[in-house]
């Protein structure tokens, strides 16, 4: 009987020593929020579980998720992940192309029926029979449905696949639809972000491999381990927020001193992600640390909650773009003007009545 290759075998063949392997297992259990007692479980899973084939589809997207994924910081994470999962179909990274690659996809779907993971990057334009995204002469919507049918689980990479991102921002000309609205009866996890943090992506896969199930999800089907708190709540500039010390413009002294970017439109207070803890590029930095407000890229509809550089979002109001305060002041002004006009009419009416009664009394 042919022994199925486990992760440990792969690490060994790649020359990863046991020490580094254990380091990786500890790191992943920490990222996923497990106690150190869980590390042996990770190690055991890595040593015994066979590789899972992954089909990675690209729909309407910009490939930033792939770019983020291949830059997973931990030196061996990247290597391990690429060996852990057998990434058999990935349009950007696969050496094969065209019919050959499509044949691979079909083969995996047949050979590993109900056992492969479907990772989707990007979403599906549903308008006009999906002509706005075609793969090998087939609409992406159909490819997605066909591939998801026999998948063990679906991972929606990035804001496009999770919520729609820029493609389904108003007015959504192509009818771009996030994956969870098309694939309804499958285990599905949303990993939003534009792109998601590399460690978050690898963390989700590792969790699945280790425990054979998806991590605990929140209401929007995001893994709680990574999307459980707002960026704001773990932001290192939070003390400046609480103190009321805000950057007013990008070149003022407050900006130099690293005060809170709330007034510069930072969406940290409404964005659930782990940028302020895991950070980017191997823990180097994250947008707020670099002095730029958070755009809220992992939140649903973040393109429609702009502008990026003001705190109050624009609301379309009578054909204009206003914010809540402007609309409110117009409403208060209108109410005041209306009441004033009403008062004037009441006064005129009362005067007339008084003079009428006076006339009657005189007469």
């Amino acid at each position: 009987m042919k022994k199925e290759t486990t992760y440990a075998d792969i690490f060994e063949s790649r020359g990863v020593n046991r020490r580094d392997f254990l380091k990786f297992c500890s790191l992943m259990s920490v990222y996923l929020g497990y106690a150190s007692t869980f590390v042996p479980k990770f190690v055991h899973a890595m040593e015994t579980k066979p590789r899972i084939p992954v089909i990675w589809l690209h729909g309407l997207e910009c490939t930033c998720c792939t770019e983020s994924f291949i830059r997973s910081s931990h030196p061996i994470t990247e290597d391990i992940i690429f060996n852990m999962i057998s990434l058999d179909y990935q349009e950007t990274l696969s050496a094969a192309a065209g019919h050959q690659l499509e044949a691979v996809r079909k083969q995996i779907m047949k050979e590993y029926k109900g056992k492969y993971i479907l990772a989707v990057e990007g979403n599906a334009p549903t308008k006009d029979d999906g002509v706005y995204c075609m793969i090998n002469g087939e609409s992406f919507t159909n490819v997605l449905k066909e591939t998801a049918a026999d998948a063990l689980a679906v991972i929606a990479w990035g804001s496009c696949a999770s919520f729609g991102c820029v493609q389904n921002a108003k007015p959504n000309p192509t009818g771009a639809t996030p994956v969870h609205k098309i694939i309804k009866n499958k285990l599905l996890v949303n990993v939003p972000g534009c792109p998601p943090i590399a460690e978050v992506m690898t963390g989700v896969i590792t969790h699945f491999l280790t425990f054979g199930k998806l991590p605990e999800l929140d209401r929007l089907k995001r893994p709680k381990a990574f999307y459980g708190t707002r960026i704001h709540d773990k932001c290192y500039r939070r003390p400046f927020f609480d103190a009321g010390m805000f950057v007013e413009s990008f070149d003022d002294e407050a900006a130099n001193k690293g005060w809170c970017l709330y007034k510069m439109g930072c969406k940290g207070p409404t964005t659930f992600n782990s940028c302020s803890t895991v950070k980017w590029n191997g823990g180097t930095s994250f947008p707020i640390q670099a002095g730029h407000p958070c755009l809220g890229c992992s939140e649903p509809g973040f393109w429609d909650n702009g502008p990026f550089y003001t705190r109050l979002a624009n609301v379309s109001f009578l054909g204009t773009n206003s914010n809540a305060d402007k609309i409110g002041m117009v409403a208060v002004g209108a109410a005041a003007a209306g009441m004033a006009a009403h008062a004037v009419v009441t006064a005129i009416k009362k005067n007339r009545q008084n003079s009428e009664t006076a006339k009657i009394e005189e007469g």
Binding site: R230, D242, A243, L312, A313, A324, D325, H342
Partner: protein
């Protein structure tokens, strides 16, 4: 020309207490809310730990919000079980076509100066009841639910988040929920203008001492006989 004065006890103590607590809460919530959305008066350069400006505004906003909610629930109880002729929901039936009938139309016509007569009610007139329902009752419910949902975000999985966190799904994202919370907050100053104007106008036109009635509880009807 003689004047006879008819006195009627309209607003019982629970209603008056609710009214003033509510007025104070809404004022405080609106002002602190505006600050939270667009903070001003940044403290001078220094250590962040020396100041707690935003923290205080938020603290007052959240604290007042809970008083506001408790007060609203108390008023709801009083409206349902208080057995208070002028302070209950009994007369307000906007789902029934009858309610939109004669009294409502006459009041509307009077406000629009189509009719000369000024109907006089001891309690709320139908239009006042409707305005009150839309602005205060619905407005409060909206602010309560969105507010609690946002408050729960600081502790996902906690009590507030578990029971009110689902509200975010209606708005799609936390940011748009914030936007709508802010937008609907403006309903209260708009209502305040309508409310104050209507009260003063009725006081002058109907001479019903409606302004002082929310302090004393008594309304008066002046009947002039010559």
């Amino acid at each position: 020309m003689a004047q006879s004065l008819e006195q009627q006890y309209v607003w019982r103590l629970p209603v008056r207490v609710y009214h003033w607590i509510n007025a104070l809460c809404v004022t405080s919530l609106f002002i602190t809310g505006l600050y939270i959305a667009s903070p001003i008066l940044s403290p001078p350069i220094g250590e962040a730990v020396w100041y707690h400006q935003m923290a205080w505004f938020r603290y007052i906003h959240f604290g007042t919000a809970f008083v506001f909610i408790a007060n609203f629930l108390f008023r709801l109880y009083w409206a349902l079980f208080g057995d208070d002729k002028y302070g209950r929901f009994a007369g307000f039936k906007p789902w029934s076509p009858d309610w939109w009938g004669q009294p409502f139309k006459e009041q509307l016509k009077s406000y629009l100066f189509i009719k000369k007569e000024e109907p006089n009610y001891y309690g709320h007139n139908p239009l006042a009841a409707l305005t009150h329902f839309l602005f205060v009752f619905c407005g409060t419910l909206f602010m309560m639910f969105t507010g609690l949902a946002m408050y729960g975000e600081n502790n996902p999985g906690g009590f507030t988040d578990t029971f009110f966190g689902w509200v975010v799904l209606i708005f799609g994202s936390s940011q748009s929920m914030h936007t709508f919370h802010h937008l609907v907050a403006w309903v209260f100053p708009v209502y305040l203008i309508l409310h104050i104007y209507a009260v003063i106008r009725h006081d002058i036109v109907n001479r019903s001492s409606v302004t002082s009635s929310i302090i004393t509880g008594y309304k008066h009807k002046v009947e002039e006989s010559s």
